[in-house]
Symmetry: C2
Subunit: 652 residues, 2 copies
């Protein structure tokens, strides 16, 4: 890697540098029906009066107010009925002095009339009993003032009035007001076009086949950053993957610069790609900043790329701003890339799009696990939320290493830790910057053993979070007070204060190829024969039962346990994941795997039964009152059905 980070820029410098980039944000006109969540680019004044006519506000009679001046219950005025106006009709009659017109709510006031007398304060009187007779007259039993019971033209909003200001975000309500004004096309802030470039020969788009033997992995950043751009109000443009050579990369970056206001790339584990982009920016653009004093996110690049138009003009003293597009290079690991995008890039896209900052971006909560910090730079610590029994937010760190994609969803936000803070104590109050304003704590946090029956139970709950960290680690976290629930299988070596919620048992043993071609009979064969095993990690409950059986075998043979396990091929090279050993057996990587009868069934493998182990759900005693614990108890009622679909399962 030839790139160096001589001086890491302070976060504030990065923010200012990005704010100085021109990310576009002009004006475009969109159909009102497509305008939801867009932002007005200009003030909209009312071009018409609403209502557009003097409108009867009540059912009754349209009159000249001056005809009613001395009218009352005792001495009513009597007016000739000259006709009728309904809503949606053009009045065909005029109200002359001494006459009135029957009118319904919403109807146009007839010429000559300036007020409405409500029907309840009138009587119809006519000589011959025929209401349509010209002789019909109306007794008016109250005086009305001019404009009484009339909604004058423009009374809701008057033509020329400021209706909505620039920067207004258009929700259904603003769209309603614009509709009332007859507006069907609105000037809105253009969405900044953001080109997204994926680098690294080992990246494969989701959906395409993956060659793991070549070390290929799926491209996470392209879809993630594209979704993030969209959420921030930008218009993502995804470019196909380019080769890592200088010419191809330069062509791609220049094309993206021509098309877009901002080009975003994310590094890859292939150092050569990073170097090539870095060189393109230096030679065909402007490098403004390289390296930022934030963890994660150190290898960030901010700069500009020349557009093609400025290509040949080597004599120009300085490239003009219009001939360049902004460029931001993100780190390669998905969690780092998205964190840096969220903290530094998304706010700039929102600003260019005129979108307001999310209203509820932070939550204050109590840290329930201490956190050391010995970095010399700002740390954006990934954390997750869980609710206490009383609903108050608790916060715990999620630290799986930047390479883990699961921490994308296992965390809810970040806590910013200053370079000069070196310790956060449990119980301290911290402010969490949420990844998304819609983030809410999960209803339940379950940690511990992975299990197919557990997965079915979790599907019945509302937004649970489950972390398959193994039984031993699950118990440890329960002791630290973090989860609502620990899922524990097999023998355990520590007692933790907990509430037993229920459980089931599952049959475990050795997974072998279908038909058991190696003729594996039991654990002794692993020790005595040259058979490769896919073992599980030490935190798993399956491993605990396996080790307990091996101890029994060692005792029976009068040998040391360590000598026994040293004789098993693959005993130390463990895999995580309840199905991983099965997959290794299925594809021939190992002859035997540690696993469940249910897993053997699912993968159509042979199975050598060794025993059954209990799986127990242990509740956090401080959180028994949480509604989710009741939900777990209800879900446990479905165990008979769940267990009947899984080979080797028994409910308790």
């Amino acid at each position: 890697m030839t790139t160096e980070f001589r001086t890491l820029a302070a976060p504030e410098t990065v923010r200012e540098t990005i704010a100085d980039l021109n990310l576009g944000g002009g004006v475009e006109h969109v159909d009102l029906r497509e305008a939801r969540d867009r932002v007005l680019a200009k003030r909209v004044d009312a071009a018409i009066d609403v209502p557009g006519f003097d409108r009867a506000a009540m059912d009754g009679y349209a009159v000249q107010a001056s005809d009613t001046v001395r009218a009352g219950e005792v001495d009513p005025a009597v007016l000739d009925l000259a006709g009728t106006v309904h809503a949606g009709e053009k009045p065909a009659v005029t109200v002359e002095p001494g006459t009135c017109v029957e009118i319904s709510t919403g109807a146009v006031m007839p010429p000559g009339a300036d007020a409405v007398v409500v029907v309840e304060r009138t009587n119809e009187i006519n000589g011959d009993g025929d209401a349509d007779n010209d002789d019909t007259a109306i007794e008016i039993r109250t005086a009305v003032a001019p404009s009484e019971n009339v909604m004058l033209a423009g009374a809701d909003i008057a033509a020329g009035a400021r209706a909505l200001g620039p920067g207004t975000r258009l929700t259904p309500r603003e769209i309603g007001l614009l509709s009332a004004l007859g507006v069907d096309e609105v000037p809105v802030r253009a969405r900044p076009r953001v080109g997204i470039i994926s680098t690294g020969d080992e990246l494969v788009p989701p959906g395409e086949p993956l060659d793991s033997e070549r070390g290929e992995i799926y491209d996470v950043n392209t879809t993630t950053i594209a979704a993030g751009v969209e959420a921030a109000g930008g218009d993502p443009v995804v470019y196909p993957h380019a080769g890592d050579d200088f010419e191809a990369m330069e062509r791609l970056l220049r094309q993206a610069a021509d098309d877009c206001d901002l080009v975003v790339s994310s590094g890859s584990t292939s150092a050569s790609a990073v170097d090539v982009i870095y060189r393109v920016i230096e030679e065909r653009g402007e490098l403004l900043l390289h390296g930022v004093a934030v963890k994660p996110g150190k290898p960030m690049v901010v700069g500009r790329i020349d557009q093609s138009g400025s290509d040949d003009d080597e004599t120009a003293a300085e490239p003009s701003d219009t001939a360049q597009s902004a460029y931001i290079g993100l780190p390669g690991y998905p969690v780092s890339a998205l964190t840096i995008f969220r903290v530094f890039v998304a706010p700039a896209i929102r600003a260019a799009a005129g979108q307001p900052e999310p209203a509820t971006a932070t939550v204050d909560g109590e840290l329930i696990a201490q956190q050391r910090h010995d970095e010399g730079r700002l740390r954006l610590l990934s954390v997750a939320l869980i609710e206490d029994a009383d609903g108050s937010p608790l916060v715990y760190p999620v630290d799986k290493g930047s390479g883990a994609t699961t921490s994308l969803v296992d965390a809810d936000g970040v806590v910013a830790i200053d370079p000069d803070t070196d310790y956060l104590a449990a119980g301290e109050s911290v402010t969490v910057q949420l990844f998304d304003p819609a983030v809410r704590p999960p209803s339940l946090l379950a940690v511990g053993e992975a299990d197919p029956a557990l997965a079915e139970l979790l599907d019945q709950l509302d937004r649970p979070r489950s972390l398959p960290v193994g039984s031993r680690e699950g118990l440890r976290r329960l002791r630290d007070g973090i989860p609502d629930l620990a899922v524990v299988a097999g023998p355990t070596d520590r007692a933790v204060d907990a509430v037993e919620l229920g459980g089931w048992s599952r049959e475990w043993g050795l997974l072998v190829k279908k038909g058991n071609p190696e003729g594996v009979d039991g654990l002794a064969d692993l020790v005595d024969d040259d058979i490769d095993l896919a073992n599980r990690d030490r935190d798993s409950g399956l491993r605990a039962s396996f080790d307990a059986e091996l101890d029994t075998l060692a005792d029976a043979r009068g040998v040391d346990g360590r000598d026994l396990t040293a004789a098993i091929n693959g005993y130390e090279a463990t895999v995580s994941g309840v199905e991983s050993p099965a997959r290794r057996v299925a594809d021939g990587r190992t002859a035997v795997g540690l696993g469940l009868r249910a897993t053997a069934d699912r993968h159509d493998l042979g199975f050598v039964s060794i025993g059954t182990q209990a799986v127990r759900l242990l509740g956090n005693p401080d959180r028994e009152e949480k509604p989710a614990i009741d939900a777990v108890r209800n879900a446990l009622e479905t165990l008979p059905t769940v267990c009947s679909s899984l080979a080797g399962y028994q409910f308790e």
Copy 2:
């Protein structure tokens, strides 16, 4: 109107009735790139291990751990270098006992190797100084355990593990995890299709010409409800307007029922349309509920409409559920329609779409104006928010009558008042259900005189709210402590404690046709000649200056002011809106209008100057510390420019 509300349903009954409707919500498969904000219909388990191969976690040498057992600084192990593996390459060599392979971070572990020794704990030693020479050997100065510095296949997420549960909303982070799993298409909850029907012959779609003489108004509910359906996660289908006769309405409703899961109509002021829909539901469907004890929103209908398939089967004992679509009839006034939609319909659409309820839907604040309540039903009082100087939310009622479309944007949410509460005192704490979780209080609330220069100043502020209620009403509200700012023009009859922020002056007078064909000279002509005037309302500052001049004229003539004004045609029939009189003069409805020279200029009218009046910005003394007041002061710096573009304006 033949429909009656015999028994109004309780809100809870309405909710339950709507919850029992079947609003669809099946499963559809969408491209991952289109999946943002959709909701997973099914659990997604990992189909692959991530990473898919045992991956070097550090730069160094891949070894067999057993070759390093006793290695240390003093007595290093020496291994032959057998080759090199980079990231993105398929290893070409195997690590045999006694050998090692140079490896870079992210690369595939070569066969035979089970651990990585970091480069910092090694030395290269070779006989002839040529690193590529076969003789090259590596000194290993530390022992490593199996799997050390290796990220095993599946360590991030193991194949078979529960990745995301049903009901998960897909934000960029979840999209990232799905990408890592290679998923490019996801099963999501289908969006309920919601048909939207507009009724009433007087409604015209925005963008089309309006015939105000016929009492036509723009259709607000169609676009508003469509946007609301979309925001709730539904798929709106807008139907063209149908005639109000039974056959046409029945055809339209049946067509919508065939196409959609739910049909929503909103009433109109034309009673006949309401009656026709009501009859169609009764004869070709099922009426479940009519009338709800909520204000606004009484005339709500819930039912089902038969789809065409069930048309001819008159003998069926009961229509089956699958042959019907849900129907909800909303009130006609836009604010009522949107309130009822938001309270009762949107939650049902969200539930069918699997979308979570918005997280931050309420704000608690202090009511700053008392509110009487004498209804026998639940009142959903429209309220608006404003921030106190310390940022704490204050709440005031917005009560313009349900017919006003401006209250769509002048309010921020509703406060639910129980039928048995009859009074809310100022200072009481209330909970506001926000219209949208993204709603925030405006930075500034300005009320009072409408003015073109003010509109320009407001455009420079971030999300101000301005209510053109006139100078007198503005002062009254400032005295009640509601706005941050009152805008007052002309003479005022009350003193209010306020902070003078600045102001300008504007020339006012009589707007006449271009060229002044009637030869109007001044106010006396209005009194003495038979000339129609478009006057302004009593709250406007223009009217105050006008009345003051008329008083002067009455004094000069030695007559009573009332006799003078009685002689002016149109003196009592006022219009609101600074431009409304100008429009009446321009289209010939009146000969003269009260207005500004700037308005005459803008509308190319003649102008008879009467005087100039001061416009003053009066700050709320309790809110002087608000940042928006500084922003107003900054905006006032631009007055010279603003005033120079407006005829008859002078800055102070």
